[in-house]
């Protein structure tokens, strides 16, 4: 197979990027519906069921409503920062998806419609293969704070400001535990490339990091839930205390963008949990990896991610909200020390085994 020229490479990467972003935004609207229906089911309600069959058109109706609402900027707000904040939030949320692998390589079919160089070529489902992929993810997740701080401060509203301060303090505290929980898998894979971390989990469920790195996986789940501000860690927008936190003053498409950023973040952390801990696109048993000659990698990947997304909704339907001091104490006095101890343990075991 001949090497690709750079316009061909660029074409493949752009097509991949567009597909991933379109898929994410589609998944966002579907997720809003699924979340409301599932929550309603858990709480013995019906949920949205009027728009279309089973209420399936609800996301479309919501979209139309938000799109045609008046664009409104409060008089006392810092106008430019207020408008820029949602754009910053969605940009930083979408930046993370660039380095995440979404499945193994997909071999292009030999259709006559496709150009010669594309036929039968395996294409890895990852937009950018970065040498420092994990660090890049960490960098992008730290940037996520800007959107929230800007949104909360620029609105010039006390609820917004308090919500933004809480939110950013929470994101800082739990980012630490989140980053530390990745160190175990990195040590095992001896690489900062996410595709290497997935590859090192091939060969059955006993190789998954969720099994051999169980404490790290638990720390990751806690930290990720807090990082995306979901219950029981949704203090930033505790509606009983803060109206709606940092997006109190937002309406119409700006609100939709902020909401979209939140859901994209939630999907991203689920995908990352799949890649880092649940073996990515590898099946729990090697014999289940393919059926009738077809590689089921994408199906496994989607299934694991879907299960994690369901877990997030389930948590929201089940748990009460933590108090702010409890949240901080848990983050700094439980999660971070536990993560550090776990790294020390993992490193010691690796040293002992490779002595």
């Amino acid at each position: 197979m001949t090497a690709l020229t750079w316009p061909q490479e660029l074409a493949i990467r752009s097509a991949l990027a567009l597909t991933v972003v379109a898929f994410l935004l589609g998944l966002f609207s579907v997720m809003t519906y699924i979340e409301r229906r599932l929550l309603a089911f858990m709480q013995f309600r019906l949920g949205p069921n009027r728009t279309g069959p089973l209420g399936l058109f609800q996301p479309v109706a919501d979209g139309i409503k938000l799109f045609f609402k008046e664009e409104f900027v409060p008089q006392a707000a810092n106008r430019w920062a207020f408008i820029a904040a949602p754009a910053v939030a969605i940009t930083t949320a979408l930046m993370a998806v660039a380095v995440i692998p979404y499945g193994g390589a997909v071999t292009m079919p030999r259709f006559d419609l496709l150009p010669e160089w594309l036929r039968g070529r395996p294409i890895p489902l990852q937009i950018a293969h970065l040498d420092v992929g994990v660090l890049y993810l960490f960098a992008v997740s730290t940037l996520g704070v800007y959107g929230i701080v800007l949104a909360g401060w620029s609105a010039n509203n006390k609820w917004s400001l308090i919500g933004a301060l809480r939110s950013s303090a929470q994101m800082f505290s739990y980012e630490l535990a989140l980053g530390l929980s990745w160190v175990g898998p990195i040590l095992l894979a001896e690489s900062l490339r996410i595709e290497d971390i997935v590859a090192c989990q091939a060969g059955g469920i006993h190789r998954w990091n969720a099994i051999i790195q169980l404490p790290a996986f638990m720390i990751y789940l806690f930290a990720a839930t807090a990082e995306v501000g979901r219950l029981p860690f949704d203090l930033p927008e505790a509606e009983a205390e803060l109206v709606a936190g940092f997006h109190t003053e937002y309406a119409s498409m700006k609100f939709a963008l902020l909401q979209m950023a939140e859901y994209v973040n939630m999907i991203t952390v689920s995908v990352l949990a799949t890649d880092f801990f649940l073996g990515g696109w590898h099946a729990p048993l090697v014999s289940l990896q393919s059926a009738a000659g077809v590689n089921l990698g994408l199906l496994w990947f989607g299934g694991k991610t879907g299960a994690l997304l369901f877990l997030f909704i389930w948590l929201r339907g089940t748990l009460p909200r933590l108090r702010y001091d409890q949240l901080m104490r848990f983050g700094w006095k439980v999660l971070v020390p536990a993560a550090v101890m776990h790294i020390l343990g993992t490193a010691a075991v690796i040293l002992w085994l490779t002595r």
Binding site: D131, V132, F138, A139, V140, T142, L143, V145, V149, W153
Partner: protein
Amino acid sequence: MAETILFYALAITAFSAAFAVVLQKSALGSAFALIVVLCSLSAIYGLLGSPILATLQIVIYAGAVMVLFLFVIMLLDVRREKGGGGPRSFVPLALLFAGLLVLQVGAVLVGSELVPQSAPFDGSAKAFARRLFSQDYVYVFEATSVLIVAALAGALALARRRR
């Protein structure tokens, strides 16, 4: 070619944003300009073959240090401050000093010759880590952790409200 164009675009962005840092009236404006400088510098590090420094620059500067600055600016509400934002009276003197600095270092720069790179350059995370944890730097690295703890304790002691 693309590398060259990208480099100059980033250099111009960084330079003009640096000017904005100094000239902005409000501290908040300066902070945002500084974030632009930091991000373009991070991209330049990437062009110069150090992906790890490029990401660390974002993590540490854009992600932590500048957020700290923004917090302090927003919480102290620096806009309230009376007349303290503008430049001081000895502008010509400062410009003279800066000009001398540029002349002196620039003369050294022009006169010096850069070592032509014969060896292939490996700026990957692995090469970086091998050098960082080699005998030469590992003690310095450990010392920085002491520095961070000291800074943490110092910041806490300074900023705490005394009762």
